[in-house]
Subunit: 281 residues, 2 copies
């Protein structure tokens, strides 16, 4: 259900797709290093706008491997009109419900409990306003200070290259967002979160690209550092209980998940963030 | 944190506690028949009202056995004042935020995939109004028509003894409530759900007692019918994937769970409904 794109929209879409391809290639290379021939399986899906017009769609990519127990990478490019009062809740859509959105979203749940799970998502939205948003956060069942420090340092470098106020603001935003109030714990060791980054398209697009490149640079390093570490049944039990909290966050609080579930999005694409297995005491 | 009870409140509380004791004894007897010496472990918890006054509390009971992989039975008796605008959402509390609630809530996740999971909850609430509510629904990973029919027939008999309109209304209410919109499936094979049953205290209390007795009569029969059936790894996989949907319902839609999580209830008591293990594709 192709929709017509202007130049900025087409450029953003092309970037998210090329980032997806680079990430998938790198993750498949890691699987090969671990002696596995796992590959991403890609499934396209179409979106029909509530108006009945073509609403765009996306491609869901999933790999189940030896290192990546389950990793999902979705790219979607959708557009149409928000329905009813919902438009009023979206930046710039209060008086005109038309919207466009393109983005990449990734969640990786790792087999080895020493390897952190990770989430990364960046997107470009257009209503009567145009903005970028996104973020990445690290979710280790068994945290290592070195991994946390390196992950944050790499994201900070990407931020600092564009605006010295980005990292402190976006790190704090992540600390506030990736939090499980009923448990009074953060879901992981943080990262960055940003939204409504509007104004100069070229600058904000370049920043969003650098966030993607930073992720592609640092996460594979951390995976390779940990993926061969021995682990015990107790480590697996710890990982699975930790995943229960991850599922709680995504199902109770995550705005993207709830938005998707309650507005009839592609269920498989929305719920690919859920862990392959989770336990509760 | 004991709170003062009037005669109706004390009678309701005493019933829920005696029903809890009868259910726990019966479930422990089933474990004994399966050669297990599993017992319920009871943990009391206190509630402090936001006003700072004593707010009641409850007792969380959990058993992890051979037949009952994980079963939680909570009794709680709480009271105080609803905070702010929240009072306006509660029957009879719009002009006076004081409330009292006592009830029993039970969720059983069973080891054998042929044995249905089950939920049962009945409660008595008092604001400026007084009412009973509750229900029970059967959640088989592998459904059997005979179990579904017997479960519904027993609940229907309990309903019909009080009011011929109860069962059709309360069955439909359960069909509407225990539904996962984003999957477009019911979470199980239904049961009954009722709320705001107000007016004649004695009649409604007697009905609520009969719902508890019906549950205590029929569920153990179904368990004993299925608990020795052989099962395969594929059955376990099916059970665990089915439990993923159960977790989705409870975390995304269940009013009791969300009410508890967002108002600072006892986390362990609220989340005892979550399955011991769940999987997502």
């Amino acid at each position: 259900m192709t929709i017509a794109l202007d130049e900025q929209q087409a450029a953003a879409k092309a970037w998210f797709e090329s980032l997806r391809d680079a990430i998938c290639a790198e993750f498949e290379a890691i699987e090969a290093e671990a002696g596995s021939d796992a590959r991403f399986e890609r499934t396209p899906w179409d979106r029909v706008d509530p108006s009945g017009a073509p609403g765009g769609g996306g491609v869901r990519g999933v790999m189940k491997g030896r290192v990546f127990e389950k990793v999902g990478v979705n790219v979607s490019t959708v557009g149409g009109s928000f329905e009813g009062d919902f438009a009023k809740t979206i930046h710039g859509a209060g008086d005109d419900p038309r919207f466009f959105a393109t983005g990449i979203s990734l969640v990786a749940h790792m087999a080895n409990p020493h390897v952190p799970a990770v989430h990364m998502n960046t997107r470009f939205l257009a209503t009567t306003k145009r903005w970028f948003g996104g973020g990445a956060d690290l979710n280790p069942p068994i945290p290592y200070d070195e991994d946390t420090a390196d992950f944050h340092a790499r994201l900070k470098a990407a931020c600092d290259a564009h605006d010295p106020t980005h990292y402190p603001r976006f790190k704090q935003w992540a600390d506030e967002y990736f939090y499980i109030p009923h448990r009074k714990v953060h879901r992981g060791v943080g990262g960055i979160f940003y939204d409504h980054l509007e104004g100069a398209f070229a600058d904000n697009f370049a920043f969003t690209q650098d966030v993607g490149r930073a992720f592609l640079d640092i996460f594979p390093q951390i995976v390779r550092r940990r993926m061969a570490m021995p682990f015990t049944d107790a480590d697996i039990a710890r990982r699975n209980a930790w995943r229960g909290r991850y599922a709680e966050f995504n199902l109770v609080y995550d705005r993207g998940t709830l938005f998707g579930l309650k507005t009839g999005g592609n269920i498989d694409a929305i719920l690919m963030s859920l862990p392959p297995v989770a336990t509760w005491d």
